[in-house]
Symmetry: D2
Subunit: 147 residues, 4 copies
């Protein structure tokens, strides 16, 4: 299976569907099973002590997996987050962007699973890991999205 959208088309589409937050997220790279997403870290993402907040990392992981599902399935596709597991392993550097490297492990008919490693830009020690699972309802069935 190949990509339904390339990097520019995906970025365009995300501007439309995430008008409030699209400036926070930049698609750095896009391959068939891997996406690299950048969180442009600003004041609102920080916690006292100068670290990136947990909710910001959750959001980055969630957007990364959602974006690669969109890139694969195309812009009309529905996807609802149903599960997440995260481990926070090192203190993020609040002065750096956060980089998510996301691998799509499964893209089935009704379920998708993506794995995410997150790094402070320039470091190769992961700050956090996440797995996000998505329900993929049939088109035109938003009401069923949560299964």
């Amino acid at each position: 299976m190949s990509l339904a959208m390339n990097k520019e088309q995906l970025a365009d589409y995300m501007r439309q569907v995430f008008p409030q937050v699209h400036r926070d997220f930049v698609v750095d790279e896009l391959e068939e099973n891997v996406i690299t997403m950048r969180l442009v870290v600003g004041e609102k993402h920080l916690r006292p002590g100068g670290t990136v907040s947990g909710p910001s990392m959750f959001g980055l992981a969630d957007v990364s997996v959602y974006a690669i599902i969109l890139a694969r399935k195309g812009r009309k596709s529905l996807a609802v987050t149903t599960g997440c597991s995260m481990d926070f392993m090192r203190k993020p550097d609040g002065g750096k962007d956060m980089i998510a490297r996301c691998t799509l492990l499964k893209l089935g008919k009704s379920l998708a699973v993506g794995d995410v490693l997150m790094y402070s830009d320039g470091s190769d020690k992961p700050v956090a890991r996440a797995t996000m699972t998505y329900s993929l309802p049939p088109e035109g069935s938003a009401a069923e999205a949560f299964g």
Copy 2:
């Protein structure tokens, strides 16, 4: 073991340590092993479609478990989130506050675990569940907080 802070003392302390977000969170009830925390849902917590965003629910779960650890161990205690698992089960009602009922399952010397069920205010069907794990470093050892 009993509480080191009552509900009012805990609310006071949260105002000091979370100056940016303390208005979002209200301690509704506090017992020895259970806390009920309210997310006062506003525009910034919403997603298109009028639902509460995933990062907002993550934040609510995280603050709930952190708050009951503080209430038990007192205000000087350190606690760093090390892990989280969440399941999103129903669509939250963006027009209602979100209520977290959090049970402290373990408060050990170095590790705490709390379980959280989240509801749209007035409903008894859980919107999401979360388990948060915290590392509890010895006092004066913030550098070791991530284990």
Copy 3:
């Protein structure tokens, strides 16, 4: 929604579908949303040091959630484990049975979620917690079971 099988019918059915392990598991109690399942701890469930093994606790959690789904949906229903999160909090007592108290948090059209607390028999301190998620494929569609 009420139960499609009572406790005796459920136990009967489990004898048929789990011929190898049904002696390990006993349904202690069954309500509409809660099941109490006992792992009859024997030599094969133990680890050096006299504790119950992780795989045994995983199996207990998995069987508990599966059993309450069966009790609710009836014996022809399909259910495939798609996800699990567990926290191990205390050392189990290898000389005692292990008791799982399982609450069904969601039973949707295509997804079920159950929460499990596990105790060494006679203690009220949870040894472990687990959340299991199940995919519920439409009848006659086993090939799609993993979504």
Copy 4:
């Protein structure tokens, strides 16, 4: 940091500490941060329908992360599983061994985190993923192992 045991020393040590199950597990490869572990699938690991059971996959993931911690820290080291998250994505082939590729994401003073992808031997589609977290108590403090 380098390995405290090579592949042969690790296999030797596992024979001593897991006398009951060491035949089930074979260390295929060992590098500084990555271990490949083989579950030699036999009758006892199977479920009706000819698939590998969930508890067997849990056990494989758990042993893999434990083994690489041992290889890094040496044979006297203590490590207690405190958490696990798993996603089951495809049906395993009960006629093939199961191969776990485990990456050690963090080996801190008190906490270790390992990520595991599991495959039916010969396939490159992951059957399951797991993250296991371990508490690493100081030497001579087994009683504190659960934190």
